[in-house]
Amino acid sequence: MTGMLKMNGIQAINAAMHEAMAADPKVLVLGEDIADREGGGVTGTMKGLSTKFGDRRVRTTPISEQAIIGAAIGAAMAGYKPVAEIMLMNFTTVCMDMIFNHAAKLRFMSGGQTSVPMVIRTLTGAGWQTAGQHSDHLEGWFAHAAGIKVVAPSNPADMKGLLLSCIQDPDPCLFIENGMTLFVPGDVAADQGPIPLGKAKVVAEGSDLTIITWSAQVMRCQMALAGLAETGISAEIVDLRTISPWDKETVLASVAKTGRAMVVHEAVRNFGPGAEIAATIAEELFGQLMAPVRRLGGPQCAVPFAKVLEDAFLVQPADVVAAAKALMG
């Protein structure tokens, strides 16, 4: 085994970008504030790229998200591999036409004559009190769109490995960063390479209950493990990592073993991505489950500002423990 490095998500993403750009001159970067003159991105994930790879490949853009995604689409169709940043996930709503009607569909609508190998990186997540227009987890929307892959890593190693895979992928990928996990350090192998898309990871083994989760909620579910153990519940945690296409095999194998499942996500519960996973588990393991599949997600409201409300909006470790207890009957 090679050496391990301690780095946080920002450093992991930055490392992935440096490696990808060095390895392939076709990799481009564009977005607001992303050149070094502007600070290498608001969280600094793009630091050093414009200095090292030049202003032609690394371009700070106007605040024009439709133009950003359009430029990425066009460049991708012409053989480049652009990594476009939409600063926050809520702002995908101003360029949704470019993403949904174009990036995701051009390969199909052209009968495979053109393709759009681009990555959209975006940041989101409650916890910083940025309230209703800066915190939403909308992965469910994109997972419902055919033609785009959706990735939501929870830790630095996965951030590096999955971003490398997204960049190499021949199709558009949405790479979702969460503001609560970006600053948390973790172990990353010095030679951490691409991690295949579409593969979940069992991050805690257990026998009573499978918790399927992703992004920052992996961390909160892990924080629930102690409380679960205390009440004698042995929980298996599956970090889904890729939301679309999702790893049915790993999830179903785990739930087949434990007999109980709970999906936990930050997105609003109603019509959220957890419904697909819960519905699939219930369908495929019909008659084999010891309890109904539970879904924990955000309440039906915008992300609130007040800390006390924001905390209540998020599924907390205690909520996971309580739901697990109820599930055990």
Binding site: R56, Q66, A71, G74, A75, M98, N101, M109, G147, D171
Partner: protein
């Protein structure tokens, strides 16, 4: 608005080629309309009859490497860009030999070999993508230029603004070409647009903008040549508003209730196709016989394409699992 200086002029050969492209557009348009009327094609159709000078001149001036992004009303742009008619017909007939295997249809025709990169059904959306293709042209250190076609109505949508600004700041080799036919569906220009000339909007982006008579091959030739030259030498984008008229309304079947008989008659009287034909003859650039031969060649090409398209096999339903991603989706 900027002034056109030292305007290049089309010679006789150029005019003949422009006419040939116009005729190919028109004969093809006619065949499509006939096929729809006879129930042989089932598709929404947005004819550009009357607007032929614009794409024909542009098609004449572009090279094969140059690229276009166009819209639902874009078949004329593709035909002028030398897209082969056989796969075009197979596509609009929904067949497997279509450019897009029948998946895209008339609103999403694509043919990268001839530079037809995107056809979009969303108003305004040709422009942001044209920028990206143009960015790639710069990165490739090629001399490629990209033409983004869009309508007058599209000049009021956000994507127009973002695209022109970015293209200007990045000095991208793009021609923003707006055939202004005075209507967006049934809505008159003045009802929706706050400026008398769309070209005036170029100034808001520090970009040259021109309004040219889109039915006049000389004016079009001059404006397009100069815009292409600017783009090729790295001077950036140009906005061209080309005034014209849609003879057949928004979508096939449109009864034109929203226009006056006078304005329509006036426009029809200025049909650019017979006008250029007459000029070719009068100027001695082509003889009646040559033009008749040209026409029968084109009609034969269109007929063969129609024949080919209509007889191409239907796509298999397995196609729904293909081309979503590079890797086929499992059955």
């Amino acid at each position: 608005m900027a002034e056109l200086s030292n305007a290049p002029k089309p010679d006789g050969e150029a005019l003949v080629d422009i006419y040939r492209r116009m005729l190919r557009i028109e004969r093809n348009d006619d065949a499509i309309r006939t096929a729809i009327r006879r129930g042989r094609l089932t598709m929404p159709y947005y004819s550009a009859r009357g607007q032929e000078v614009i794409p024909a001149t542009i098609g004449h001036l572009l090279t094969n490497e140059d690229q276009i992004c166009t819209i639902y009303r874009g078949i004329q742009d593709m035909v002028a860009k030398d897209m082969p008619l056989k796969p075009l017909w197979a596509e609009i007939a929904g067949r497997i030999d279509g450019t897009c295997k029948g998946k895209g249809g008339p609103m999403h025709l694509t043919h990268p070999e001839t530079g037809v990169m995107v056809t979009t059904g969303v108003v305004g959306s040709s422009m942001p993508i044209a920028n990206g293709l143009a960015w790639a042209a710069l990165l490739d250190e090629s001399r490629r230029v990209v033409v983004a076609f869009f309508g007058d109505g599209a000049s009021n949508i956000g994507a127009f603004h973002e695209s022109l600004n970015l293209a200007s700041v990045w000095k991208l080799p793009v021609l923003f070409v707006c055939p202004n036919n005075g209507f967006a569906e049934h809505t008159r220009y003045e009802v929706s647009t706050s400026v008398d000339r769309i070209s005036r909007r170029a100034e808001a982006y520090g970009m040259p903008g021109f309004t040219v008579d889109g039915n006049d091959p000389d004016a079009m030739f001059a404006a397009v040549s100069q815009a292409i030259e600017r783009a090729r030498v790295g001077e950036g984008p140009t906005l061209l508003e080309c005034t014209t008229f849609r003879f057949l309304g928004h979508v096939l079947g449109d009864d034109d209730f929203y226009m006056t008989k006078e304005e329509k008659d006036e426009a029809l009287a200025k049909d650019p196709l017979p006008a250029l034909r007459a000029r070719l003859i009068a100027g001695g650039h082509a003889s009646e016989e040559q033009l008749a031969a040209m026409q029968s060649d084109i009609e034969a090409e269109v007929a063969a394409a129609q024949e080919f398209g209509m007889n191409s096999p239907l796509p298999s339903v397995d196609e729904l699992r293909r081309d979503v991603f590079e890797q086929e989706i499992a059955a």
